[in-house]
Each structure stands twice: as C-alpha cells, then as structure tokens.
C-alpha cells in the first residue's frame, strides 16, 4: 500500500500549495521538498532490496478505474528493477533539484507556484514510472506534458516563454497522437492495456508481426515527442526559457528520458516485432544524436548548448534501444540523469552569478565560482565519456551494442557524435570558465543550498558508471534483467570500441582546446571559411523555420482559413442565407401586389371568378 504514497504525497503537496499555502513561500517550498524527500525515502528501501536481490519477483497492484464491458482500465503500479531504478533516479535527482531551487528561485514572485508545479511534475513522473498499463502511462505522460508546459511558461509575461511553453506542449501532442493510436492498435490486437498481459500475449505469439510493427512504431512516436527525437526535437531547445532547475530536472534528467523508459518498458514488443521497427528507432536516434551534436557547436547560449547536448544524448539512448540494447539505454539514462542535471544546475549557478546566458559574456569565471567550475568540469568529462567517469561506461555500452549489431553507419554516427561532443563541451568549459574576462559586475559563488546539490551530483556523475562495468557481477545489466534483441543480446566489454571512442573524444577535446584556448585554430577564420555550414548550424538546419513558415503558416493556417472561408461564405452565406435571401426576395416581390388599393383586390377577385366560372362551365 505504501507504494500509493508515492503518487499521493506529491499530488497532495501540489494541491495543498495551490489551495492553501500559496501565500507562504517558505512553507510551500518545505511542503514540496518534504513530499519529494518522503518519496525518496519510500523508494530507497525498495531500491536497496532489489539491488540486494535483483531477481526478486516484481510487485504489482492495481484497482479498477474504468470498467465497461470490453474495456478495463486500471490504475496500478508495477515495481520491477526497471521501474525501481527510474524511481530512484527521479526521486533522488528530484530531491536535489528541489533543494537547489530554494536557493535559485529565492526572490521570485511565483515561488509557491513554482513548487506546486514541481510537485505536480514529480507526481506525474512517478506515475509514468509506476504505470502498469498503457492507459495509465499515457495519462501521466500527458500530465508531465502539462507540468512541463506550466514550468516552461513559468515566466508567462515573457512572450518567448509563453510561446516556448505552447510549442513544447503541442509538439509533444503530435508525438502523443501516435502514442494514442499505438495504444488503440495494441488494445485492438490484445484486448488489454496491461504490460505484463501484453508481454504474455506477445510471447505466446498472439499478435501478428504487422500489428506489432505498427504498434511499436506508433508507440515510438510518443517517445519521439517526449524524448525530443528528430523530427520533433524542436521544442526542447526552446524549453530552456523555463527556470534552470526545471531544465535540469524535466528537460534533462527525467521527463525527456521518459520516452526511453517507455521504450524499455515495451522492449518486449519492440524486439518481438519485425526488425524494421528497431531499425527505424535506431536511425531516428542516430540522426538526432549526430544532428544535435552539430547544432550544439553553433550555439552560444550556455543553456542551449547543454540542451542540444541533451538532445544528442537522448538520441544516443534511443539509438541504443534501436540497436537492441535497452539495458545500455537505461544505463546511459541513469548516468546522463546525474551528469546532465549537474551541468544544468552548474549553468544555473553561472547564470545566477552573471545574469546572462551568453557564454561570450562570461569567461575566466573559475576563480570566482570554484565549486561551480569544478563540478561543471567533472560533469563535462562525464558527459564526454572520458575514462573512468560515468559517461565512459555508459557510452561504451551503447557503442559496443551498435558495433555488435553490425550496422557500421550507426556505429560511425555514435563515434562521430562522441567526437563532436568533445569539441563543444571543451569549448563550453573554456569559454565560460577560462580565458579572458568578459563578464560585468562581480559574480560570486551561489549559496550552499545550490552548491551542495552540485557536489552530491558531481560525486554520482563521476562514480555511478562503475556499476556498469561489464566484468563485475552482478552489474547493472543483470540487475535490470531486460530481454535484449536476439542479435544484440550478449555483448561484453569491447576493447576496440573502448579505445577508439576514447581516442576520438580526446581528439575532440584537443581540437576544442586548440581553438578556444590557445587560439592555434582561429575560430573567426574557421567561421569565415565555413560560413555556409555555420549559418546552417546557427539556424538549426532551418527545421524550425520550415515548421513555422511552411507547416504551420502554409498548410495548417491555410486549412483553417479555407475551412473558415467555406464556413462563412459557402455554408453560411450561400447554403443557409441563400435560401433565406431567395424567400425574402420572393416575399418582397409578391408584396408589391399588396397595393392597399381595394379595387386592385376586387379586380383580381373578379378575374378569378371569371376564370373559375369558365373552368366550371367547361367541365
């Protein structure tokens, strides 16, 4: 029963803050932090129990939510290693970020609102993680979308923020369009929403391959939206309009990873479906990973750079699921949650200090912001995948899986991404914290409520990768116990892959160092030489442009305008007012016979009588 508290506490906190303690800032934040902390302490023993005995039977509990003949929807929980791991990440990172927010948001007028939304987010996110059926995951899927909308649009007075919020919600909705249809397909084929029952039917071979292919691809659409994969990635960079803790928690560590979590949850379906499904997934991930990494090169806003790197990481994870290793994807998800949250929080700390997002207005901050700088560098190294930081182990697993899968295009894309990541992360570190002083005012280190979470996260970012060392037993993979695809199921530590990826990362770092620190490679010259490609990067491959100016302006708005034209002119004016007009004018015409002259009427009467008599006489 205490599992339900995971949902009830954050929801209760959100409601309480909204309805009661809105005016008491501190109280609101304590309620919110208390709720997420309590969740963490509920999750912790379960987590430890599963770590101790990974093959413990999963727990499932549910109650009937909707029941009509032919359709049963439950609200339930499914506790297995996968969800426990995710619960741990969400509550742990969530707690840290709640604490961090107390410092970061301290003088914001919407303080209570912020914490209410955070609690709502934790509620919805835990709902996704706990869900034992598709409808429930969809419900909370939408609710995280809502909390994301509310938090991105937190500064609703800013037009950019309200636009970004709207965009995030709608783009997610496009993904959910597929998701909802996928649910319908699966329900139609299997008659149930429950994961375990669907899995059972899949293993029993009750679903036809085509159904599974269609179902997996449609469900994948949901992940494309939520995890911001190409071509629905456009909302995530804009989502950085929200407060930085939000970016860290929602748009880096947890919510955007929900797509990957969902894919892992339905991995039984993906791997049972015809291979076309996983191929599509893998290539989508690879395109996103590589494209986003390139785009990150062209950005100068600190949060945007990290946002694009997040996109790239998400692409990695999705690719990992696609090449047959959901385990590696989840592993990367975990390490990514720590180091990316860390990076965002550091960025927040920097922004807090400098009051700007532009890295070209920073520089030489490391002496002023010692803790921030140190943790940022640690996080970056983890992100780049430098041995022995956490990113190394997780990235390595994905690359090994891709290698084992045999598709060298995917593997190459992964390696190339790692190389580019090396460049732009180095650039980010060097331009922000070293080099010439370009900032104004006197930045100073953030309060402890902000730095302590940084330190904790840094520790995890550095060491958490160790649980995935393949030679260990039990290690991460065996704990999770997911069934991989047959072709990519067993892949150990691959020395070739490890060495080659390390080499390219260092190559990237060196190039970055040469460009942005020593100046051996002059960035301006590079810029001039590669003006075209650079413009392409700055404008994000014109994808947003294409959406705004073609899809929305040309197609969508035109359809709406044409419909309205039809409505107003054809339906209302022609079909409806037309007959009315005719009748009215027929009436006006006939009215002219009503002269008011008695003798006219008499004349007609006499004529009529004559006619009647003639008719009578003739018959």
């Amino acid at each position: 029963m205490y599992i339900w508290a995971l949902l009830i506490l954050p929801l209760f906190s959100a409601v309480l803050i909204t309805l009661v303690t809105r005016r008491h800032k501190d109280l609101s934040s304590y309620i919110s932090i208390g709720a997420v902390l309590a969740c963490f302490f509920i999750v912790l023993p379960i987590f430890l129990r599963f770590v101790g005995a990974p093959h413990t039977e999963h727990l499932e509990g549910s109650f009937r939510w909707i029941g009509v003949p032919g359709m049963l929807v439950e609200i339930g929980y499914l506790i297995d290693p996968l969800s426990v791991l995710m619960l741990f990440i969400v509550t742990f990172v969530g707690t840290l970020i709640h604490i961090y927010s107390r410092g970061y948001m301290h003088d914001d007028p919407g303080y209570s609102r912020f914490f209410a939304c955070l609690s709502l987010f934790i509620f919805s996110m835990l709902g996704i993680v706990l869900a034992n059926n598709l409808i429930m995951i969809y419900i909370f899927w939408e609710l995280v979308g809502l909390s994301s909308y509310l938090l991105i649009g937190f500064y609703f007075e800013k037009p950019a923020a309200s636009d970004a919020a709207k965009k995030a919600f709608l783009v997610n909705r496009i993904g959910d369009f597929g998701f909802a249809l996928g649910i319908c397909v699966i329900f139609y084929a299997s008659g149930t929403f429950n994961f375990l029952e669907i899995a059972h039917q899949v293993h029993a071979g009750h679903l036809s391959p085509n159904t599974m292919l269609l179902g997996s691809l449609l469900l994948f659409c949901g992940a494309v939206g939520k995890s911001a994969q190409f071509p629905l990635h456009v909302w995530l960079p804009d989502a950085m309009e929200g407060p930085t803790p939000v970016s860290a928690l929602i748009h880096a560590a947890t919510m955007v990873a929900a797509g990957v979590y969902m894919l892992a949850r339905i991995s039984f379906l993906l791997y049972a479906a015809p291979p076309a499904a996983t191929t599509v997934i893998a290539y989508t991930g690879a395109i996103t990973a590589l494209g986003a990494a390139l785009l990150a090169l062209g950005q100068s806003d600190i949060k945007r750079v990290i946002a694009f790197s997040t996109l790239s990481s998400l692409g990695y994870m999705v690719m990992s699921v696609g090449v047959g290793s959901a385990t590696a994807g989840m592993f990367y998800l975990m390490t990514h949650a720590f180091f990316k949250a860390l990076l965002f929080l550091c960025a927040g700390s920097v922004i807090h200090a400098c009051h700007t997002n532009d890295i070209w207005h920073m520089g030489a901050l490391s002496p002023k912001l010692k803790i921030t700088a140190t943790t940022f560098i640690l996080g970056s190294l983890a992100m780049m995948g430098v041995f022995p930081f956490s990113g190394f182990w997780s990235k390595d697993e994905i690359l090994s899986a891709a290698f084992a899968n045999g598709d060298m295009v995917l593997y190459g894309a992964g390696v190339l991404t790692a190389f580019i990541t090396g460049i732009f992360m180095t650039k980010l570190i060097l331009v922000t914290f070293f080099g010439k002083k370009r900032y104004h005012g006197s930045p100073h280190e953030s309060p402890p409520s902000m730095t302590i979470p940084l330190i904790i996260l840094a520790v995890f970012a550095v060491f958490v990768g160790l649980v995935g060392i393949p030679s260990l037993h039990p290690n991460f993979g065996s704990f999770l116990g997911l069934h991989g695809a047959e072709h990519g199921a067993e892949h150990g530590f691959n020395m070739t892959v490890a060495i080659s990826s390390t080499i390219v990362v260092f190559a990237g770092i060196i190039i970055g160092f040469l460009t942005y620190y020593t100046g051996t490679i002059d960035p301006d010259k590079m810029y001039k030489r590669f003006r075209g490609p650079y413009r392409l990067l700055e404008n994000r491959f014109y994808i947003d442009h294409f959406y705004d100016n073609f899809i929305v302006a040309k197609i969508y708005n035109q359809v709406a305008r044409i419909s309205t034209f039809i409505e107003v002119n054809i339906i209302i004016h022609f079909c409806i007012n037309g007959p009315a007009y005719l009748i009215r004018h027929a009436g006006l015409f006939l009215r002219s016979t009503i002269t008011g002259g008695v003798q006219h009427y008499t004349f007609f009467m006499v004529t009529g009588v004559v006619v009647l008599i003639i008719v009578y006489a003739l018959t």
């Binding site: 004349f603 006499v606 004529t607 004559v610 008599i613 003639i614 006489a617």
Partner: protein, 170 residues
Amino acid sequence: MEQIFFYIFAVIAVVAAVSVVVSRNPVHSALFLIVCLLQVAAIFVLLRAPFLAATQVFVYVGAVMVLFLFTVLVLDIGRETVVEYMHSHAFAAVGAVVALFVVLAYIASRGTITVPQGGFSEEVLAKNVEVVGRALFTKYIFPFEVVSFLLLIALVGAIVLVMNEKGSKS
C-alpha cells in the same frame, strides 16, 4: 303584354344603372340609383311579388337612398373631373366585367331547370303578403330574429362610428 313591360323596366333599369356608374356628380348618381331601384321594384311586381316590391320601395328608395343623399350632401362632394373620377385602369376593369357578363350569360342561356317545382304555384303566390308573412313568422322566425338583432347592432354601430371621439375633437 308582360314582355313589353319587362323590356321597358329592364331597359330603364340598365340605363339608370349605367348612369349611376358613369355620372360625375354623386347627387346625379344617387338619383339615377333611385330610378334603377324603382324599376327593380316594378320587376318584382312582374314576378308576382308585390310585397317585395313594396319593401323595395320603402327600404331602398325611402331609407337607403335618403341616407345616400344625406351623406353626399353632408360631405359636400361636388362634380368630379374625368381624370379624377375613374381609375386609370378602367379599361382592364371593364374588360374583366364584360368577360364576367359574357360567361354568366352564356351559362344562363344554356341552363335548364332540373329541380322539382315547389308547392307555391302562381295562384298561391298571388296572395303574396299572407304567404310570406306566414312563412316568416313560423318557419323562418329564428333567422328573422337574428336579422332584426343584426339591424339593431348596425344601428348602434353606425352611431358609434360617426360619434366624435372625446379626445380627438379639437
């Protein structure tokens, strides 16, 4: 002999009727109407209905026509010009009327009597006043009363109509 009288009465009646319609002076019209109505009374006599003839003379010539003359004189309507007194579409109207007459006459000339004859032969009808009085006060007593009541209402109505409204007299 009867035929001669019929034609005399009929011709005078028709001529007088036409004169009613065409004379410009309403007083002349009224006088012609009196002539016409008298001829009708004469025709009633030809039709062996002396009581009707008497009533015709009393009611029409005595009462109705006096009313007309009074009205004409009270309203003081003089002679009218040609343009004023007829309608511009008088031709169409006359055409319609001629057509009306033609079809009516056609039917009348073609018609035959198919209904059985009643019990009031010429001899009975000769005692016209008695027969009519008997029928009116026995068989037709109810319509008779209704009509008298109607006449009363008309009387009251006419008075009400021409009475000056209280507020409007100024």
